[in-house]
């Protein structure tokens, strides 16, 4: 393949980079040769990274998309590949048009004509219009609706979703260990006796998994599963998993 000589420019985004590559390869946007494009695209991103240039996630996302299109197009049934290529072509055409318009706007836009500041007419500027309380209320909902995406949600916000009380996995870990303390073994199903509700069952199951992972207990057998407490130097290791369900 012809070695392309890039001057490392900054690109406005992945679409910009793709357009440059397409132009350099004398491809048509409507007939993209995806394999060539993927290789050169990745090569360019590699070069950008080497120069410590800022490679935003948008570039990486596009890389993933290109690789996916290429992968799909290698499969015998290429309907999906065609569809994906068409989508990419459409997006590129649209972006190319956007750039054309932007360049027209850029030639025409000036900041050379100045309006005046509003004349200082001597009346007080206080507002005398009416504001409907409902409009204010709607505005509040609207403002908060947006902010909610930016503020971390408060625990109470989940109250509608998690209607059963929160059962912490830690508390179930302690409970399981306590149960095993006497004999050192118990039947697996017995660990779940006394659980009320799904949350407790799930938390207990997670507790068992955590304990197994931490090599504190072992679960053996098939029908009559037995849970065994493994002996470990006491207090050397705290129970794993302090996260909440």
């Amino acid at each position: 393949m012809e070695k392309l000589n890039y001057r490392l420019e900054t690109f406005e985004g992945p679409l910009d980079l793709l357009l440059v590559l397409i132009r350099k390869n004398k491809m048509s946007i409507l007939d993209i040769r995806i394999t060539e494009l993927v290789d050169q695209y990745l090569e360019q991103i590699g070069a950008m990274r080497q120069r410590d240039m800022d490679v935003s996630s948008d570039f990486l996302e596009m890389a993933a998309r290109l690789v996916y299109i290429k992968t799909v197009s290698l499969l015998p049934k290429t309907e999906e590949a065609e569809q994906l290529s068409r989508e990419l072509s459409g997006q590129l055409l649209e972006y190319e048009e956007c750039r054309r318009i932007a360049s027209l706007l850029g030639k025409k836009i000036t900041f050379d004509s100045f309006p005046r500041e509003q004349a200082k007419v001597e009346f007080d500027t206080s507002y005398r219009g009416n504001i409907l309380p409902e409009a204010l209320f709607d505005a509040y909902r609207s403002a908060v609706g947006r902010g909610r995406r930016l503020l971390p949600p408060k625990p109470e916000a989940f109250s509608g979703i998690v209607s059963h009380g929160i059962v912490s996995v830690t508390s179930r870990i302690i409970r399981v260990l306590r149960r095993l303390r006497g004999t050192g073994t118990a039947r697996y199903t017995d660990l779940y006796s006394g659980c009320r509700g799904r949350s407790e069952l799930v938390a207990t199951f997670l507790a068992v998994l955590e304990l197994v992972r931490g090599k504190r207990i072992r679960v053996d057998g098939e029908d009559n599963d037995v849970v065994t407490l493994l002996h470990r130097p006491a207090a050397q290791r705290k129970p794993v998993g302090s996260e909440q369900q």
Binding site: M62, I101, A102, S103, G106, S113, R149
Partner: protein, 192 residues
Amino acid sequence: MKPEISKIQGAAEAILFASGEPVSLERLAEVLELDKPTAEKILNHLTDRFNAENAGVQILRLEDGWQMCTRAEYAGQVRQALDMRRNMPLSQAALEVLAVVAYNQPVTKSFVEQVRGVDCSGVLGSLTSKGLVEERGRLDLPGRPLIYGTTPDFLRCLGISSLDDLPPVEHGEEEEEADEPQKQSWPAEDAG
């Protein structure tokens, strides 16, 4: 009759001068106590009178209103006299965002980002603070995204009176009637 009209024109002139911002036909008609067609005729006449002279001040028609501002050819002297700095030309990114907003308004940020393929928050913010783009409320969709449109200042800086005067979009997906003759002369396109 004649002095009457010149008084109305004088009032219109004073209003446009004092307002600074574009003043809508509706408001002018109300204050001048005229019906809208008559007010429009008088404003058009005033505009012609202003713009015919080799004057320093012009009246622009922007959407449904008028605005008084200086002529671009005197920009240098005005800047010098008022100690204003030259505005930086808009970046390529800003122009692209502006193009997407102008042709598709009102639009959400995510629409703009879809067309450009990159995050546009910063650019939209700076276009908003430059007064070229403004918030237009929210879409009634999950997340209630803000929607954006262009301002009268955008038209003024572009030297056009209406969004209809934007350069026509090329391929047909935008379902636009191309039968209208181009009102503005747009420079020939280039590859950029």
